[in-house]
Symmetry: C2
Subunit: 191 residues, 2 copies
C-alpha cells in the first residue's frame, strides 16, 4: 500500500519549489499524485497546513544533513564547503530553496508560516556561526573573520547563487561561486 501523505509532500515540494507558493494549487497537486482534489484536504486540511508540513519536513532533512556534516567533516573549511554542496542538488534539479521561495511571498504568508521560515534560516546561521568560530580557533579559517556576520554572508551567498544559477549557468555557475566563497574564508595565502 502506498503512503499517500508522503507522496503528497514530495510532489508538493517539487511544485512549490518550481513555481512558487501561490503559483501552485491543490488542483496541480491532485493531478500529480492522481487523487481527487478534495482528498488532499483529508491529509492537509488547508493549504497553510500543507505548507507548514512542507517546511517541517524540509527543515528536518537539513537538520540531519547538518549533523552528518559535523560527524564526517573534521575542519571548519570542509564543513562550510559541504554545507554549500547541500544547495547543489537544487541547482541541478532546477528547484529553488523551499524557504526562499516562501520568503519571496512574505507579504501574503500566514504569520505561523513566516515564523517557521525565519526559524529555518536562523538555525542555519547559528550552525554556521559555531562552525566558523571553530575554524578561527583551529586556524583552518582566516583568524580575523567575524563569525556572526560571516554566517549571514554564507547563507545569503548560497541562497542567492541557487536563485541565480538555476536561471543562468546551472551547476557550473554555482560551483564557481561556492569556490570563490570558500576561498574568501581561508587564511590569506602568502606569496
Amino acid at each position: 500500500m502506498r503512503d499517500t501523505r508522503a507522496e503528497l509532500l514530495a510532489r508538493a515540494e517539487i511544485l512549490v519549489r518550481g513555481r512558487g507558493y501561490s503559483g501552485f494549487s491543490y488542483g496541480d497537486l491532485a493531478e500529480a499524485v492522481s487523487i481527487r482534489k478534495a482528498s488532499i484536504h483529508h491529509h492537509f486540511r488547508t493549504k497553510t497546513d500543507l505548507a507548514l508540513a512542507l517546511v517541517a519536513a524540509y527543515d528536518a532533512r537539513y537538520d540531519a544533513a547538518l549533523a552528518a556534516i559535523l560527524a564526517t567533516k573534521g575542519d571548519a573549511a570542509s564543513r562550510i564547503e559541504a554545507y554549500g554542496q547541500l544547495y547543489l542538488t537544487g541547482v541541478e534539479d532546477g528547484l529553488g530553496c523551499l524557504c526562499a521561495v516562501l520568503a519571496i511571498e512574505m507579504d501574503t504568508l500566514p504569520d505561523v508560516l513566516r515564523a517557521d521560515i525565519a526559524r529555518f534560516f536562523d538555525k542555519h546561521i547559528a550552525w554556521l556561526e559555531r562552525v566558523l568560530a571553530g575554524g578561527c580557533a583551529d586556524g583552518s579559517l582566516r583568524p580575523g573573520l567575524d563569525p556572526a556576520a560571516t554566517a549571514r554572508l554564507v547563507v545569503a551567498t548560497l541562497e542567492g547563487a541557487l536563485l541565480l544559477e538555476r536561471l543562468l549557468a546551472g551547476s557550473a555557475g554555482f560551483r564557481s561561486t561556492l569556490m570563490v566563497l570558500c576561498d574568501s574564508l581561508r587564511p590569506p595565502r602568502i606569496g
Copy 2:
C-alpha cells in the same frame, strides 16, 4: 491629468515585489490604483505584457544607477559598495528584487519574460566583471581575484542578502553582509 500607466507600473511593482508574481492580481492592482480591473487591460493587454513592462522599467532604472556609479565613484572598491547600496532600499521598504521574485516562479513564466530576467542579471554580472577587472589593475582590489567568478558571487550575495534580511534582520543585517563582502574583495591587510 494623472499618468495612469505610470501609476499602474509603480503600484504593480510594489505588489509583485511583496507578494510574488502569481500572488498578485489585476484585482489587487485595480483596487490599489482605484480604477476598474478591465481598464488595466487597456494599458497592459495581458498580465505578461505588464510583467515585461515592469522588468523593462526596473532594468532601465538600474542602467541609470550603474552609469551614475561609474560617473561618481572613482575606484573599484567604492563602485562595488555603491552597487551593494542599490539593494538597500529594497530591504528598507520590505521589497524583494523584482527579477529575483520573478525568477523564483521560473517554471510557470513565459519564455520571453524568463529571457528578459536572465538578461537583467547577465548585464549586472558583466558590469561587475568590468569594474572588478579594473580594481585588480589599479590595486584597489585583491590582485589574484577572478573577475568573472567574483562578479557572480557579488550578485548572488546581494540578492541572497536582500531575500534573507528582508525576512530576518532588516537593513542592519544587510549592511553587515555588504561590509563583509566588500572586505573580502580588498587586498589582504598586512599585520
